[in-house]
Symmetry: C3
Amino acid sequence: MNISELKQNVDLKVSGKEMHEWMLRLYPICRSITGNGVRKTLDILGAYLPLTVREIPSGTPVFDWTVPKEWNIQDAFIKDSRGNRIVDFKASNLCVVGYSSPIHQRMSLEELKPFLHTLPDHPDWIPYRTSYYDDNWGFCVSHRQLMKFKDDEAYDVCIDSVLEDGHLTYGEYNLQGQCSDEVLLSCHICHPSLCNDNLSGIVLLTMLGKLLQQVSLRHSYRFLFIPGTIGSITWLALNEASASKIKYGLVAACVGDAGQITYKRSRQDNAQIDLIVEHVLKESGDPYDIKSFIPYGYDERQYCSPGFNLPVGCLQRTSYGDYPEYHTSADDSDFVRPESLQDSLYKYISVFNIIENNKTLINTNPKCEPQLGKRGLYKAIGGQGETLESQMAMLWTLNLSDGEHSLLEISEKSKIRFDLIKKIADILTAENLLKECS
Amino acid sequence: MNISELKQNVDLKVSGKEMHEWMLRLYPICRSITGNGVRKTLDILGAYLPLTVREIPSGTPVFDWTVPKEWNIQDAFIKDSRGNRIVDFKASNLCVVGYSSPIHQRMSLEELKPFLHTLPDHPDWIPYRTSYYDDNWGFCVSHRQLMKFKDDEAYDVCIDSVLEDGHLTYGEYNLQGQCSDEVLLSCHICHPSLCNDNLSGIVLLTMLGKLLQQVSLRHSYRFLFIPGTIGSITWLALNEASASKIKYGLVAACVGDAGQITYKRSRQDNAQIDLIVEHVLKESGDPYDIKSFIPYGYDERQYCSPGFNLPVGCLQRTSYGDYPEYHTSADDSDFVRPESLQDSLYKYISVFNIIENNKTLINTNPKCEPQLGKRGLYKAIGGQGETLESQMAMLWTLNLSDGEHSLLEISEKSKIRFDLIKKIADILTAENLLKECS
Amino acid sequence: MNISELKQNVDLKVSGKEMHEWMLRLYPICRSITGNGVRKTLDILGAYLPLTVREIPSGTPVFDWTVPKEWNIQDAFIKDSRGNRIVDFKASNLCVVGYSSPIHQRMSLEELKPFLHTLPDHPDWIPYRTSYYDDNWGFCVSHRQLMKFKDDEAYDVCIDSVLEDGHLTYGEYNLQGQCSDEVLLSCHICHPSLCNDNLSGIVLLTMLGKLLQQVSLRHSYRFLFIPGTIGSITWLALNEASASKIKYGLVAACVGDAGQITYKRSRQDNAQIDLIVEHVLKESGDPYDIKSFIPYGYDERQYCSPGFNLPVGCLQRTSYGDYPEYHTSADDSDFVRPESLQDSLYKYISVFNIIENNKTLINTNPKCEPQLGKRGLYKAIGGQGETLESQMAMLWTLNLSDGEHSLLEISEKSKIRFDLIKKIADILTAENLLKECS
């Protein structure tokens, strides 16, 4: 199967439902930037994709950073004086600040309060907080719950966590294509029970990997399932030589909400990936938004640091921080919809379709038009309805195949969809009217 | 006489009427891409312009094409059973599909119908159809006429045509200027009784040739009167070396209707000819439209094929296909108006005015302004009303004559009309404040 | 003190009042392009700024021009038959056409009228007229006054002026900075009792010179107080080598009226000075206007002649000619406001602030982000309110410090104000995360 066939034939509805089901399996796991939650997650993904799991020891220097200690947590709670677990890690792993150091202590509300985080504007939601590089601890609770805490109560506060030398764990999956030019696909796997950010990205990349496995590919595809920031820094530090092979890249994050699709350009601003994604979104007819690069966001921050400046953008739906559910318990499995996942999937495949099929051809009869009639080319194209557009596509493709215009550029200039230009280019190549650029 | 004088002194009204009269003389002739109709047309034009007529033998290979057999037609008709010519070539040469092969046969309406072409949406109009490179025949009739055909009638169908080895005929007229850089002017002469497309272009180029004869020219001008597509391909194939001398070019087509003027840019998109025509249209104050190049239309398709990529645009009024009369009997002598021909003439001359007069000069006192007062230059300019504009023109021309800006660019930047900039440049050159770029 | 401190600490209100007072002192003096009025003006300025006064002999050739004779005037009047001075130079020096040749003669109104200039549309205003390079004389009066002249009266007309070999006088003040790259500041000093054009420019440059004296400067600053046109031509002719050191320049004119600030770009159109001024005006939040260069206006005409093409713009308030008071007695001390002078002062200082502080730095950890947390950099920045913006400023400055982007460009791209970018760059440089471009 080639990528065009995949694009045409993939059963999006089934894929959308399947991704949503995978997400539900991953939802309960307590993930962080290191630890057993990540391992368990990669283990589950391994059922769909032959991932390689890598373990990098704590203390490994990675550029200006050091791989941190590994954090694991067994249990956490706040009990009232009657022994009731009024805050319970087993009910929601969001209730513990990520990377909290262990504690077990009886405290008054006054003592406890500085360690309790809430969202007064959304009294039913639990916030998501972390403290990776600072020795600290804390609990996140709904504001409504906090209101029930009593001043004269003594609370039994416990976090049963371990922070010690171990490993940073990430998953990698490489699909070898005909050439070594690479397409990088990256998602972060460090968030606990949060769906859009970023179980949606994890299941999308897993599905893409699974589907691309069946496809005969021109480019090589590298999938990274890594903890945010420290994961991409670690991978780049340990794979500097590989980075230069990356010709296109996308960070997949927040790809499951109901909002419109949003593309954040690479730092290069007009890299091929930027032109291709913009073309796909424009051609889709759906509403979309294009944003310039800013040095804030997800792992594109690292891929687009000035020393790498890789052509990596971020193709998402609603941008982080633009929806109130972001980094709260409200980013749950209802917030992510199968239809949105399936639409994101189709747009990623459409991007790959252009990456795989785009090329620059040369008109072998560049002086005046070739005589198409004597070759029966007007008839070779099929369906009545599209005949006029096909003829225009033929004239455009011949006229612009001067070695300076790719098929994508011909599609842009002619305002004829890429797939028809590509089909016509194949016909003209078969007739020896076009040839590959050497 | 120089071109500026021609532009000022040409009696447009007389020229407009004259072109319209020429058109009426050419109207009845049955032209096609080859044959005696073309010869007769060139013969008539020869009275106004010392054209060279060229004959290229059938079978001559021209790039991917071959010069076709020559087609001539004596008569054609459909007679009803009483012997009445209900369709008659002598009444309108549009009634025969161009390049129809000979036939003489009695046919029922059922047999005949596939060979009858009409325009149901315009029941009084006869369509114009051709079948150059396909062995075929047919008749074009008004839809109202078709309605009168009877099912039970036997029709006597005759096309008395000849398709045999002969020649492709075209006309060429060259005006030698001071330098060998050429301005190409091209029109197609292959349409039978159709006025806007393209007798209008034929009479416009004839008039331009006649007028330019009297002018002392810097550039050489090449006028081509050629059959569409195969004519330009033939000329380019047999004159490849000459093509490289073409520095500016215009295809003249549909220049006589009442619509606004339209310019279709060359494939280069910002060639000098594109900038000049756009300047002329802007400065005219009349409504106009500028279109990007597309690889469809008239012979600019060939001039702008990637192997030539010549700076040739198409300066027309209403674009082909944008008026319903296009390629029908309604494109008749009423559809083309003397005033429109005269306006097109003036705009073509205005384009030549810039082509001839534009140059890049050098300020001989580039450091600070020269002292204009001591040379009496404020007074040298004449008419009170224009004094302030003339002074600004002087300052602009001096300031921008750094070898990087042509007079046209100075006109664009200063928003002062080209003719005043040119007049001021002449005065400043006479004062040795400007000199020619070496 | 550095320029940032000057910008923060200058007491604008005091400076505005002070400039207005200086202007009142200079107002009564009769200035022209040469003569004692200029000397007296420079003498008064000398009390605030250690100006160097230069005297260039009449007859000195300066490019296409010659330094003219020196003009001085003692008195001028028109007396009626009863001996009343109905026009009196001692009441307003505007009443004599600049560079009038001497005359003393009894004349009828009919004889006198061609030498009287008025403004019929503004009957109470006296126009300002000159006749530098033409042997002529004349009086300027209000139109209401002209109406009182009587046909049958004999007028005693006297201009007691002297036009003889002497000098052209101008003032120069140079502030030597760390490097020889220069900032040129130029104003014209040839107008008599006219305030906005251009006592406002004179007092503004004087105040800027006085304030910059206290500042430790990277660039050298050259202040020119010169007669219009012939002054800049003379300076450029005699200092051609110095001109090449000018990297930024502003002509200060019409900087005291109540209108919005206007910047006229240099001929280069996108020189650093153009980008900097536009940035300052945009960042100010005040309304402003940007105009393209035209070869008409003040001395930027000479600095921007093609042989020099210096990066010199004109930063003014209402453009000359855009206010009716221009070149009339209504351009008086009420027309110029202390608040406007103070606003212009602040904007000039803001421009210098960027000129002095802008530079291009290099990220010493270009591969991935450096770990800011371990350096306590989030806290190093101060004030709570600005923390988020400061963090973004840090990320932008690190990301774009690749040797290709100046701090000004980082400010433009990030939409974060220049001063914060500069402050953050200093902090990052102190942490060795940025270093100077070598």
